[in-house]
Symmetry: C2
Subunit: 139 residues, 2 copies
């Protein structure tokens, strides 16, 4: 649809908007849950795994997506909000991993509390994941 929109979104993060990257960004925008490399492999069968891998890595390094470590053994990625800088704790929110369908969801409205960490523990990121059953799977 409005590819120019996606191009600008990439450019705003200093990512060269190649055809491949626009297609992957588009897919992530349309998708409701976080995505892992295997998900992209299934969808973009024509593209090489390495390209998909490096695309996610580029997106992550430029702050277009954030990383989620759920219990699936697959590193998931989800789009950041427009003004997100992935800073701790303000831009960190809770995620939900469904053990049944193995999908991971962002809960951007659920922030994390401030923690007084023990002396000399310096935080920089956070991954807060609640595991359970999603609406589609909690019959």
């Amino acid at each position: 649809m409005n590819m120019t929109n996606h191009e600008q979104r990439l450019l705003s993060r200093n990512i060269q908007p190649t055809a491949m990257r626009i297609r992957i960004l588009s897919f992530m925008v349309e998708n409701k849950s976080a995505l892992g490399l295997p998900d992209l492999e299934e969808t973009f069968t024509h593209a090489d795994r390495t390209t998909l891998y490096r695309t996610l890595k580029t997106f992550l390094e430029h702050g277009l997506v954030h990383q989620i470590n759920d219990a699936s053994g697959i590193t998931k990625y989800a789009l950041c909000s427009e003004n997100c800088t992935c800073s701790y704790p303000d831009d960190v929110h809770v995620h939900f991993y469904c053990t049944s369908c193995e999908q991971t969801f962002c809960f951007p409205h659920l922030g994390i509390p401030h923690y007084d960490l023990p002396e000399n523990f310096i935080p920089s990121h956070g991954s807060f994941v609640i595991t359970g059953s999603c609406p589609s799977c909690s019959s």
Copy 2:
């Protein structure tokens, strides 16, 4: 030392206290940080990887340890407190993953807040990990 103590701890979780399991439990008690399978492999070079793997699995299934998914790509395990049932949210606490030494620490005194999840999301577990630099590494 007091091996009988460890034996009782295993028995209280309905785990047969074999020599191997007592040795691994002992190692986990002495260790300050959470441990992954590769850590056990390095330490128990005489034992088979599968045995170590299944020991961790048994410990987990019987609630002797809890699981932590940090950004290391290695599933970590840490001992539960005596009366822990790993129930959400009461027995869930914050963890800290140091990207420098790749060690993961339990912060049992830092609990997690109650979250009002969206409709029909049923929680059962939680993995809350703050990433950064630990005292030894934040020079």
